[in-house]
């Protein structure tokens, strides 16, 4: 015996999307610890931190797969399935960037040149700030569903997205400064190392870019 009313409700993707974002944020946040250990030259700790990042990135992948599996095409949802998938992909890239950056550093045993160490650490944590803001706005997703993506709640999310944009602007400025400093000393460093340092700066800066793009995706959800 049973009833069919209960079966017409698909599993809500909201909780898993929030869990996914939370995992991606924690993955990015670990980068701060990771680079602190890189600076202090404690390679056991660096490896431990790297392992944690890989673990979190895999956890995020598992959430991503789970969400995809529970969103078949035959669902009637307040927002298009494609927009949710796109949001998920952008969130996932935050974890991917953390994995790529830490992978490069560990793989090449890279060290940060002393003149840019301090700037780079604050650059990393500013990027993580952007990810944190993204997590905060994704935490409002259940409220957005409650209100039908309209009204006071939508305005709140708009303002969070605006804050995310500002943090991203900050990171752009910081990135330019670090590059200038690196340019000034690059002739004293092994050229291949310099190449990869630029690469790491770029990849780390992507985290704030992705956070900003999460904001864009949320605006798309709000515009429907």
């Amino acid at each position: 015996m049973g009833s069919y009313i209960s079966k017409i409700f698909g599993a809500s993707p909201v909780g898993p999307i929030q869990d996914h974002m939370d995992t991606c944020y924690r993955c990015a946040k670990e980068l701060v610890t990771f680079f602190e250990h890189v600076v202090s030259g404690d390679w056991d700790q660096v490896q431990a931190s790297r392992d944690k990042i890989v673990e979190l990135e895999q956890a995020a992948d598992d959430f991503k797969r789970q969400i995809r599996a529970q969103l078949p095409k035959s669902l009637l949802m307040p927002v298009p399935r494609e927009d949710l998938m796109e949001l998920l992909l952008v969130q996932d890239r935050i974890a991917n960037r953390a994995r790529d950056v830490s992978g490069l550093v560990v793989g090449r045993r890279m060290e940060l040149p002393a003149p840019i160490q301090k700037d780079f650490l604050s650059f990393v944590s500013r990027n993580v700030d952007a990810a944190k803001k993204a997590r905060k706005s994704i935490r409002e997703l259940d409220e957005l569903y409650e209100t039908g993506f309209r009204g006071a709640e939508a305005e709140l999310v708009e303002s969070l997205v605006h804050e995310m944009d500002q943090i991203e602007d900050d990171t752009d400025v910081m990135q330019a400064e670090i590059r200038t400093k690196l340019f000034a000393i690059e002739n004293d460093l092994p050229p291949v190392d310099v190449m990869f340092l630029y690469r790491i700066i770029e990849l780390t800066g992507d985290i704030a870019d992705m956070a900003e793009r999460i904001g864009r995706r949320l605006e798309v959800l709000l515009s429907h």
């Binding site: 009313i5 035959s74 409650e146």
Partner: protein
């Protein structure tokens, strides 16, 4: 009519069986949304269902019972052989009950209404000839099966939009929820009472003028709204829950309103679905007692009582288990959504009952849920399952018809 007592006993037995099946299985659809959203505990839901199903059956079940009893078969074709109608109605009843049992064991979505109507049309067309079926009436019934989910969907869409517009999208949703909640209660109770008074109550000996009906309905609405207001004002703000989900307290306000729509839903279900069980019983009894296929006598109230009793019995034996399983799975329907859907469905069903249309409670509720979904109220509705529910719309009719034709020949062989 030498077998008169046997017919009466069989009719009573089959009717009780069918009502029991409806109570055990079908009521869960009406009540589960309230439990899923945390508005009622299982014990409370059983109590609400028992009281309101019963009163719905007795107070507002008369019109649909009449339709099932004598609206589908044109009995001028069986005046010469009243036994045929008795066999047919008994067969239809047994067919619908058996089909309901098989289907719910297999987990298929079936409608009790569609199976009983299919069963009656089936035996009528085969045993009495196609000209004995009142096709015009059947067409109206079938049209109401399309109209009822549609109507409920449209109402639910607008009710939910009004909740969004008045409460959810505002800066101060909680204060607004407290302010508007009694208004929603007032409208719900007044409308349902009004339809019941206009359409249903003559057979219990209560006749009111139009003005009196309005007075009573508005009075009932006002009283219940005041009670609702008292409960709503008592709700404390849960700061911790609100931090995690800003609308937690707002939803608890609507949980109070859902108690009222749950009562309405049980009432609506009783008013419509109980007729599926007792309509044929009423037909058999009136023929068996008089030996005549007369048209005009009213449905005896004790038959309505029998139907109400059967439903409560079903609730008591199996309903608890079914309601619990279903309720667990409907957490997606939060009180604001559940309220909108239940209000729309209850209103539509009570209205259909008043006009004598046997509609499907499940389909109407599904229509209402879709309406809330269209208003962007539900995170995910599985359209595949919705499709399967509406396919049962078509499959159930021939199934009921085939079984009832089979039982008809068996009964005629045994008694005829």
């Amino acid at each position: 009519m030498e077998d008169q007592l046997v017919y009466l006993a069989l009719a009573g037995l089959f009717g009780l069986f069918m009502a029991w099946g409806i109570g055990a299985n079908d009521v869960a659809n009406a009540m589960a949304t309230s439990i899923g959203s945390g508005a009622l505990t299982i014990r409370q839901a059983l109590l609400v269902a028992a009281v309101f199903e019963f009163s719905g059956a007795v107070l507002a079940g008369g019109e649909v019972t009449s339709t099932i009893r004598r609206g589908i078969i044109d009995s001028s074709y069986v005046t010469g052989e009243p036994e045929l109608l008795i066999f047919g109605m008994l067969a239809a009843l047994l067919a619908a009950a058996v089909w309901l049992l098989i289907a719910s064991r297999k987990g298929w979505p079936v409608s009790t209404t569609h199976s009983i109507v299919g069963a009656i049309v089936g035996f009528g067309a085969v045993a009495l000839g196609t000209q004995a079926v009142a096709w015009g009436q059947v067409a109206t019934i079938v049209a109401s099966w399309v109209a009822s989910p549609l109507t409920a969907g449209i109402i639910a869409f607008f009710v939910f939009n009004s909740i969004q517009w008045l409460i959810l999208t505002r800066e101060d949703p909680l204060e607004r929820a407290r302010r508007y909640a009694p208004l929603y209660v007032f409208v719900t109770v007044t409308l349902i009472t009004l339809i019941t008074l206009f359409k249903g109550l003559t057979h219990v000996g209560l006749t009111l003028t139009t003005l009196e009906s309005y007075g009573v309905a508005i009075g009932c609405g006002a009283v219940v709204a005041l009670i609702g207001r008292w409960f709503v004002m008592r709700i404390r703000v849960d700061k911790k829950a609100d931090r995690e989900f800003h609308f937690a307290t707002v939803e608890r306000v609507f949980a109070v309103l859902m108690v009222i729509t749950a009562c309405s839903m049980a009432f609506a279900h009783g008013s419509n679905d109980v007729a599926n069980a007792i309509g044929p019983v009423a037909a058999v009894i009136s023929v068996a007692r008089t030996g005549l296929v007369e048209q005009a006598s009213p449905v005896p109230i004790w038959i309505l009582l029998l139907g109400g009793f059967g439903i409560v019995l079903g609730l008591g034996t199996f309903g608890r288990h079914v309601i619990a399983t279903v309720g667990d799975r409907i957490t997606a329907l939060t009180p604001t959504r559940g309220f909108s859907a239940e209000l729309a469905a209850a209103f539509t069903i009570v209205f259909a009952s008043g006009t004598g249309m046997p509609v499907s409670t499940t389909h109407t509720l599904v229509g209402a849920v879709l309406g809330v979904g269209m208003a962007r109220g539900i995170t995910a509705i599985n359209l595949g399952v919705v499709g399967r529910i509406f396919v049962s719309w078509i499959v159930t009719i021939p199934a009921g018809a085939a079984l009832s034709i089979l039982f008809f020949y068996v009964l005629r062989f045994l008694f005829g």
